[in-house]
């Protein structure tokens, strides 16, 4: 069944001359999962996606989509994929309808009912020429083009850049529905909140190398959660000094307001708070942003960013 994996890369590597695009990227997507691919600009996300779409030839390694080699069988691969490029460029002189007709014609077998459904969903008017459209409307058109043939795999590179918050919400809903219908999604983004809401697993890439691939729940548990405590009487750092995993970030208001992070057992921390003159406290949920930043800080400390020729 290995052949039927929606997406699989093995030591996928691409150099641009001496400059690394991505190196030794090995990842497998399971059917029906949303895989968040995170990294800052220039980390190698778009290079990875362009390798998957058969636009770039790998320097070494392989990428397969439903068993088809992404470079050698690029046309076959596209049968299974709905693709949203990171840099949205369309044919300015064509209207939205003309784009839909063109790509439906090139793909074949596109259900007009589904197209109308998507037009309604994204509240998009396909009448005007693309040159007159806002960035958000261009983005909507590209999303419709990627979804209209009902592909089993979506490869999305920054799919919501340019969309307003309402449309971002619609996009999240649509993606969840697609997942419920068994679709697999490779979602590249630097919008952590979006990945946080949607992804089952996350891969984090830095300087072209995959730092980790983990289920998002595991990832959240691995990293410290932030707490703020307000007290009726001042305390000092010593109040938490013996609790493993607790780190004081700052003490304000003469010791009446404490910011800390906890990576240890929450019961020990709550026990300690019960012994202190606590007026109120907040305990933030583990958010991907702090996880991501922590991973990046750790990686940066271990291997400072390499300057490449």
């Amino acid at each position: 069944m290995e052949q039927q994996r929606p997406l699989q890369t093995e030591v996928l590597t691409r150099f641009y001359g001496a400059r690394r695009g991505v190196e030794d990227l090995t990842v497998t997507l399971e059917p029906g999962e949303i895989f968040g691919f995170l990294g800052p600009n220039g980390a190698g996300k778009t290079t990875t996606i362009r390798l998957l779409m058969g636009l770039l030839r790998p320097t070494r390694g392989k990428a397969r989509i439903f068993g088809h080699d992404c470079w050698r069988e690029a046309a076959a691969v596209k049968r299974y994929v709905g693709y949203v490029p990171g840099d949205i460029r369309l044919y300015d002189h064509l209207t939205g309808w003309q784009h839909i007709d063109l790509f439906a014609g090139l793909r074949g077998g596109v259900d007009r009912g589904r197209v109308r459904q998507l037009l309604d969903r994204f509240d998009y008017d396909p009448g005007p020429r693309v040159r007159t459209l806002s960035t958000g409307n261009r983005q909507k058109l590209v999303l419709i083009l990627a979804l209209m043939h009902d592909p089993p795999l979506l490869v999305l590179d920054e799919p919501t850049s340019g969309l307003d918050p309402v449309m971002q919400h619609v996009f999240v809903e649509v993606l969840r529905e697609e997942q419920a219908r068994g679709k697999t999604v490779f979602l590249s983004s630097h919008r952590l909140s979006e990945v946080d809401q949607l992804a089952d697993r996350v891969g984090i890439i830095r300087d072209g190398r995959l730092l980790l691939v983990e289920p998002i729940t595991t990832l959240r548990q691995r990293y410290a959660r932030r707490m703020e405590v307000w007290l009726t009487a001042p305390i000092t750092e010593a109040a938490f000094a013996d609790l493993p995993g607790v780190q004081i970030i700052a003490i304000h208001d003469g010791g009446r307001h404490v910011e800390l992070t906890n990576q240890g057992d929450v019961r020990a921390l709550l026990g300690r708070l019960s012994q202190l003159p606590v007026r109120d406290f907040t305990y933030a949920p583990p958010d991907l942003e702090s996880v991501f930043l922590a991973i990046y800080r750790d990686a940066e400390a271990a291997h400072p960013t390499e300057v490449q020729a």
Binding site: M53, L55, A74, A76, Y83, L102, R107
Partner: protein, 268 residues
Amino acid sequence: MNGVMVRKALRDWQSLMLWFSLGMLAYILLFGPLWHPVRSAASAIEQYAQAFPKGVLAAFGVPQSPAASFSSFLQAEVFGFVWPIAAIIFVALAGSSAVAQELDQGTIDIWLSVPVSRARLLASKLVALLGTIVLFASVSVLGVMLDFLLAGEHVSATGYARLFLVLGAFLLAVGGLAVCCSAVARTRGQAAGIAGGILFFMYVARVVAELSERLRLLRLVSIFTPFRTGAALAGDPIPWLGVLLSALLGVVAALVALMLFQQRDLAR
């Protein structure tokens, strides 16, 4: 080949096709009504032409006796210089846009997101280009036919067919070269520049070959050498092998373009 892609390419080029074809037709039609005054002053024009250095006549494709017949007159006024330049601009603009414009405008990602091989997508554009070439050559021949009517002269149907073949082979060569350059270039301007450079070299090679006995072999590397429209119309001998080789150059260049594009790494 993909019908949807062919239609898209034809639609993209329709205004280019329309304006170049109409413009060329109008230009060609200028010369039919001029023939009678020119014929009545034939000897003076002959003398005038003889006064020019051979190099200048060769450079502008003017025959030694430009007023000897209406075919020679058209060769001198239309097909010697203006038609090839317009045809090169028209076909090179269309051909060079085939791939390089998609890269230039950043539409290559979306264009190649469909389950059709790159070679088939480009082959579809080549078919559309062939259509524009046939149209441009046909309109040019139609213009010449109307000119002969206006001038009160006569040419056999074979003459027109021979003219169509000479024009078509020339356009095929230009189109093939332009698409080949487009398949390797990063921008449309670069593609048109490379194609233009090659064609300019061919043009100079033909002129030099006509001027220098020592460098006569240069005529073999030029698609301008077999471009003898006056002879085609008049039924005079034409280097048919050269015409065939021009057409073949276009076909081979197009096939090379398909191979190169199929394997091209599209790094930005």
